[in-house]
Subunit: 414 residues, 2 copies
């Protein structure tokens, strides 16, 4: 089954609101073996909606509408559906009763302003909305399915999963999508493409391989679709395994986990604790670590020593090093890491000092210069210099990924 998702709303076309519904619905469709062949965003209006439905049905079997349902004047979907199917718009008592009940359950009185929400096309199947006031609608004619959801994300998700999936499942075939996503860090797209060129050129024709780059990271998605799930699964696995073996330590996981989650798993498993001393990153590494629930299992804290005075006072970085080498130097990075290890009393402490930009660069230390120090109990403190050449935000994000990856690689060796 092929589907097109149509998001309705002027607010989307002027960029006032970001459409996240189409992505979520695409993920669900992908899992259900519905192939999404397009997204469309269209203006509010009956004509634009019927026109978009008409065009979409020339290419697909399922049209999924979001938005254009609700209590305000700019709700056109119900009228557009009635126009498209040649149905009457009638007062729908069951929907009105639900609305009345919904308001009552929130201790509020329903008003006539909501009447238009109960004026609905006669003959469609209504999808009861437990999360809000606007029902979804479903209709099938001549093998072509149409479903319409309100634009509010949590209402749409509820209606999709609870009401729509049971209706559509009987129409779906046996073909399944099989995929694995390999998560890499520290290599660019081009590097990866070079390293796995032979695997890629020998890719079985049933499979596809996609590169999904993010700052400092690339996800590689191996996927194939077909009915012979077992065979497909085995060739997807073979290719994914080959890629993982080839890329070695650049692979930090599979699926949807974040780099910070991978680090947490490792640290907790090895029963190691971590502390940080951050300067230019201003707490971003700590923030990233703490975004994972349960980070307290290994993370003790971070000294964000933005001012040199704090590097000296709290982390005991020597005035000599600060004066002789500057805050962005190997010596200061080392002393920051050593200081953090001592005062945070952890097994490992990592420091970062650098010039995020846009100001503060010099010829010998341009914007994007970073020093990282890694101290561990009973080991020699290691330091690394790196240079990124980006804007402030991206420099900070890059070095965060770099540091998390350094921690991962070091702890992996234990």
């Amino acid at each position: 089954m092929k589907a097109i998702i149509i998001a309705i709303g002027d607010e989307l076309l002027i960029g006032q609101v970001l459409d996240t519904n189409s992505q979520w619905i695409s993920q669900q469709c992908n899992d259900l073996n519905i192939e999404v062949i397009g997204h469309r965003t269209i203006p509010d209006g009956v004509a634009s909606t019927t026109d978009a439905i008409d065009r979409a049905f020339r290419q697909c079997d399922l049209v999924i509408l979001t938005g254009g349902l609700g209590p305000t004047n700019d709700d056109y979907t119900a009228r557009a559906l009635a126009a498209y199917y040649g149905m009457e718009i009638v007062f729908h008592q069951a929907t009105w009763d639900r609305l009345t009940e919904y308001f009552a359950s929130r201790g509020r009185q329903i008003t006539d302003a909501l009447k238009p929400q109960a004026m609905l096309p006669e003959g469609v199947t209504f999808l009861e909305n437990d999360m809000g006031t606007a029902p979804g609608m479903y209709h099938c004619r001549e093998g072509k399915h149409l479903v319409s959801f309100p634009g509010v994300p949590h209402e749409m998700k509820h209606l999709f999963s609870r009401r729509f999936v049971p209706l559509i499942r009987p129409f779906l075939g046996k073909s399944r999508l099989i995929q694995r996503t390999v998560l890499t860090v520290g290599l660019g797209e081009t590097d990866i493409a070079g390293r796995i060129a032979d695997i890629e050129s020998a890719l079985p024709k049933e499979l596809s391989l996609a590169y999904l780059p993010d700052i400092g990271k690339v996800r590689l998605r191996v996927s194939g679709r077909g009915e012979d799930v077992e065979n497909l699964g085995s060739i997807v696995n073979q290719v994914a395994d080959d890629i993982i073996e080839r890329l070695g330590s650049a692979v930090y996981g599979e699926g949807e986990i974040s780099l910070a989650e991978a680090v947490k798993e490792l640290m907790v498993n090895k029963r190691l604790t971590l502390g940080l001393a951050e300067s230019c990153t201003g707490g971003n590494i700590s923030r990233e670590i703490v975004s994972v629930p349960g980070a307290s299992g290994y993370f003790k804290g971070s000294i964000v020593s933005y001012a040199n005075e704090i590097k000296h006072l709290i982390l005991s970085v020597s005035s000599e090093s600060l004066n002789n080498y500057g805050a962005v130097s190997e010596e200061v990075a080392r002393e920051m890491a050593d200081g953090a290890l001592r005062i945070l009393n952890t097994d490992m402490a990592v420091s970062v000092t650098g010039i995020a930009g846009p100001d503060g660069g010099s010829e010998s230390k341009p914007v994007g210069t970073f020093w990282v120090g890694i101290a561990m109990k009973g080991r020699h403190t290691e330091t690394y210099q790196i240079n990124f050449n980006r804007d402030r935000e991206r420099n900070i994000r890059f070095v965060t990924v770099y540091v998390l990856n350094k921690i991962r690689l070091l702890v992996n060796e234990f």
Copy 2:
């Protein structure tokens, strides 16, 4: 001028990547007086791209493509443009030279794997990409404009603003968009709507007023479009001034500045220094402060005391308070702020301790409970309890906005 934005990529259609480009481009078009009449998302492929271009040009004068340009095998845009316009694909020496230079500037050697990025349609205008490897492309035939950008957001934004806008501006009419955006914090949409109901109902018919909510903040955009720029400007100003006066201290600025920028301006002007003691926010407040260049003018650092041990060891929070009241308590928030003021040696120190979730809540302290402490030299330390009721990420972001706003309001009084 009417435009359709086409995002290319299978990764969008299976929901693996969220398309944020179309929203950003829509905003820019809106400002430029280009009416965006649709967004499309289409699969990778030459045929699907030429087909989408062809369909779009039947409805609009400008087609904006994103994605499908880059170093890997799944890049179809250049070939699609060549096919659509009947151009040859040729090796483009200038692009290759730029690529070589780009790599050299990063201390890397270019490889033949990048050759396909210099194979481009003959006769289009190339948009030089200072942020990455893939150039943009622009072509105009018979009054129909087409522009193509790589999918990486910061490269696309750079090429749009720096390269594309100067090319398209001569084709745009005299009508201008005049707008002012009033930035508020601490009030909900409904609160604001109630306070400015009379201003809104008396809004001149040429103007529109939009509410753009974000976590803890609402932007109010007053805008009008027309050729009489002077008159339009004066009525936009009148309305914006009325709103600012009415909303008083909830207004933290205008335009695009962030709350952290507003705080920086205030603190630097008043020559005050700031330190933080963060627990559950894990450095997010510090991170937000440091996102503003020049934050070092007032910000000294943050003690991210994620573990209780660190609250005690570094911030000198008493074991009694931690044991008797728990880490999320008024006493601990106060002692954290006092400790930070002392050891960071600042004029002001702010602490946050709370339960971000999903775990760690209890009946008396549910997830979303936060205590904030504000210490200042020579003043009694103030504490505030707040409750948000959201997921981990949003709780952290809410309390960050809350804290920045508290700092702003307090310093404003000085």
